[in-house]
C-alpha cells in the first residue's frame, strides 16, 4: 500500500456559533485546510464526510464547487469522523486517487443527547423509566472502576482542571477559562461521581483534513504528517457499553482495546513510543480509563500519574493537549477529527502556547462512542 500523509488541516472553532449552520462550519474548515495545503478545491479527487445531526456532507459542493468529484456521505455515529478519515486514507493508500478529503461537522441542540429507544433497538420502557442516558453509562463505568482500582474523586477533578487549563491556550477550544479543582469537585452532581464540570457538552464545530500519497506530498513540498495506522473496531462479546439494559456475566473485551492493539500492530510501535495522545474524554473518568485501555498504564496507576502531572503539556505523555472534549465540547461528527487535527498541529510544531516540548515524533488519537465502537489513529513525523 502507498504511504499516506495529512498535508492540510483546517478547523472551525468549537462551541456555539449562532447563525452559522453545521455544514457552513464544515465548508469553513475545508477552505482552511485547502489554504493550509496550498491547494484549490479542484485539486481534491475524492471526499468523505458526515455529521450526526447537521445534515449530509456532500451538499457542501454547492459552496465549494461542482467539480464532479465523488463525495461519500459517512454516517457512523461517534465514529463518523474517524470512519471518514479511514476511508479517505484507504482511497489514497489503494491508489484510487492521490489527494482526498475527510471532513466532519456538527451542530447539536443544547443539553444532554436525547436518544429514542426504538432507534437503538431497545424497548420503550427503558427510556420511560429514566435509564437511557449516555451520562449514566459513563458514571456507572467509572464508579465501578474507582472501587476496583482505587481512583479518587480528586483525580476525576484533576482531569477536568487540566482540560480547562489546556483549553485556555487553544484557539479552537470552547471553554477558554480555567476552573479550579474545588469548583469542579463541589459543582452540582450530574450522575455520581461526576459533577457538571466533569462532563463535556454537545456542541458545534468542524474539522477538515486533506490526505495525499507520500509521492504527491513530496511533489507539492507539503508540510506533511504520516498516517502510520488507523483502526476502527466495534464491540466484542461481554463488553460494557452505552445503552445496555443488561450485560453478560461472562465479562469480555473492549472495543478500545481491540482498536488500540490493531493500530499499534499496523504501525509497528507500542504505547511506550508515543509522544502525545488525544484520548476520548466524554467525561473525566473516560480519560482515566482510556489511558489504561489504550495501553499507556496499568489499571489504577492513573492516580499516581495525575499526582505527578505526567499527562500535562510538559509531562512524560501529554494527554488532550487542546483541552479535549471537556474544553472543546462534542460535535459528534467532528470530534474524532479534532483529535487528529490537534495531533497534526503538535507534530508540525505549530501548537504555540500549548506546544508539547521536545519535537514530538509520534501522536496517538482515540475516539469512543455509542453503541460501543472505537477508532484509533497513529501519526508520525
Amino acid at each position: 500500500m502507498t504511504q499516506v500523509q495529512i498535508i492540510g488541516a483546517g478547523i472551525h472553532p468549537f462551541g456555539r456559533t449562532d447563525g452559522r449552520s453545521g455544514r457552513d462550519q464544515g465548508v469553513f474548515a475545508v477552505r482552511q485546510a485547502l489554504a493550509d495545503a496550498g491547494l484549490a478545491w479542484t485539486d481534491i479527487e475524492c471526499a468523505y464526510g458526515g455529521s450526526d445531526s447537521a445534515g449530509n456532507a456532500d451538499i457542501m459542493v454547492n459552496e465549494l464547487g461542482l467539480t464532479g468529484l465523488p463525495f461519500i456521505n459517512v454516517s457512523n455515529g461517534c465514529a463518523t469522523g474517524g470512519s471518514a478519515l479511514a476511508s479517505a486514507r484507504n482511497a489514497v493508500a489503494s491508489g484510487q486517487c492521490d489527494i482526498a478529503l475527510a471532513v466532519g461537522f456538527d451542530k447539536h441542540p443544547r443539553g444532554a443527547f436525547n436518544a429514542k429507544p426504538g432507534d437503538w433497538g431497545l424497548p420503550e420502557w427503558y427510556g420511560e423509566t429514566g435509564m437511557m442516558l449516555t451520562t449514566q453509562f459513563f458514571a456507572l463505568k467509572i464508579q465501578r472502576y474507582m472501587q476496583l482500582h482505587g481512583i479518587s474523586r480528586e483525580t476525576l477533578g484533576k482531569v477536568a482542571e487540566k482540560a480547562f487549563r489546556n483549553g485556555t491556550l487553544c484557539d479552537h477550544a470552547w471553554r477558554r477559562s480555567p476552573v479550579d479543582l474545588d469548583t469542579i469537585l463541589n459543582a452540582p452532581m450530574v450522575n455520581d461521581p461526576l459533577t457538571k464540570y466533569m462532563f463535556c457538552s454537545p456542541a458545534e464545530g468542524a474539522v477538515a483534513l486533506i490526505i495525499a500519497s507520500e509521492k504527491k506530498a513530496r511533489e507539492l513540498g507539503a508540510d506533511g504528517v504520516k498516517i502510520a495506522s488507523i483502526a476502527v473496531r466495534t464491540r466484542p462479546p461481554g463488553s460494557f457499553e452505552v445503552f445496555a439494559p443488561a450485560i453478560s456475566v461472562d465479562r469480555g473485551g473492549k472495543p478500545t482495546e481491540l482498536a488500540s492493539q490493531a493500530a499499534y500492530e499496523a504501525a509497528g510501535i507500542g504505547p511506550e513510543d508515543i509522544d502525545v495522545a488525544q484520548l476520548q474524554d466524554t467525561e473525566s473518568g473516560a480519560e482515566i480509563m482510556h489511558m489504561a485501555e489504550n495501553g499507556f498504564c496499568q489499571d489504577g496507576e492513573q492516580e499516581q500519574w495525575f499526582a505527578e502531572g505526567r499527562t500535562e503539556l510538559n509531562g512524560q505523555l501529554p494527554v488532550n493537549t487542546d483541552g479535549g472534549c471537556l474544553a472543546c465540547g462534542e460535535p459528534i461528527g467532528a470530534s474524532g477529527l479534532r483529535q487528529v487535527y490537534e495531533n497534526t498541529v503538535q507534530l508540525r510544531g505549530r501548537g504555540g502556547a500549548r506546544q508539547v516540548p521536545g519535537n514530538p515524533k509520534t501522536a496517538y488519537s482515540h475516539v469512543y462512542g455509542a453503541p460501543g465502537l472505537s477508532a484509533v489513529a497513529i501519526l508520525e513525523r
Partner: protein, 130 residues
C-alpha cells in the same frame, strides 16, 4: 399494587414475589434481559431470574431526563440506579430503592422490589437486602 399498571408487559412474573423474566438462548444457554422481542425471540426461551443478586455498580440521576422518552413525574426527584449481578445469570440495569448513595458498596446483596416510578405505573427496582 391494584390500580397501577406495569411499565411493560412481560418484564416480571405475576406472583407474590415477582421475578424478572430473561431469555435463555436455545443453543448457547446465555441469559439476556429483557426477553428479546420480534424475530430475535425465536432463539430464546423465557426464564425467570433470581430475585437476589449483588451490586455491580451504581450512580445517581440528578437531573430530569428529557421527555419523551422519560415518563416520570414533572416534579423531578433524583433517584439512584445501577447494575445488579444475578449470579450465574446476567447483570441487569435497574433503579435502586431504599438506600442512600453513601450506603452503596460493591458486591452488597440486593433484592427485587416493584416501585411506582410514575403515578399509576410500576417498574422493577432493587434494594439492599434487609
Amino acid at each position: 399494587m391494584s390500580g397501577v399498571l406495569p411499565v411493560a408487559e412481560g418484564l416480571w412474573t405475576d406472583e407474590a414475589q415477582p421475578r424478572l423474566i430473561g431469555g435463555r438462548h436455545g443453543q448457547t444457554g446465555e441469559i439476556v434481559f429483557p426477553m428479546p422481542e420480534g424475530d430475535a425471540a425465536q432463539h430464546y426461551d423465557p426464564v425467570p431470574l433470581s430475585r437476589t443478586g449483588t451490586l455491580w455498580s451504581w450512580t445517581s440521576q440528578d437531573f430530569r431526563p428529557k421527555s419523551p422518552p422519560y415518563a416520570g413525574p414533572e416534579a423531578f426527584v433524583p433517584f439512584l440506579l445501577g447494575y445488579v449481578e444475578l449470579p450465574g445469570q446476567v447483570i441487569v440495569e435497574t433503579r435502586i430503592e431504599g438506600a442512600n448513595l453513601a450506603e452503596l458498596t460493591l458486591g452488597m446483596p440486593m433484592e427485587l422490589v416493584l416501585t411506582e416510578f410514575a403515578p399509576g405505573r410500576t417498574t422493577f427496582a432493587f434494594r439492599p437486602c434487609a
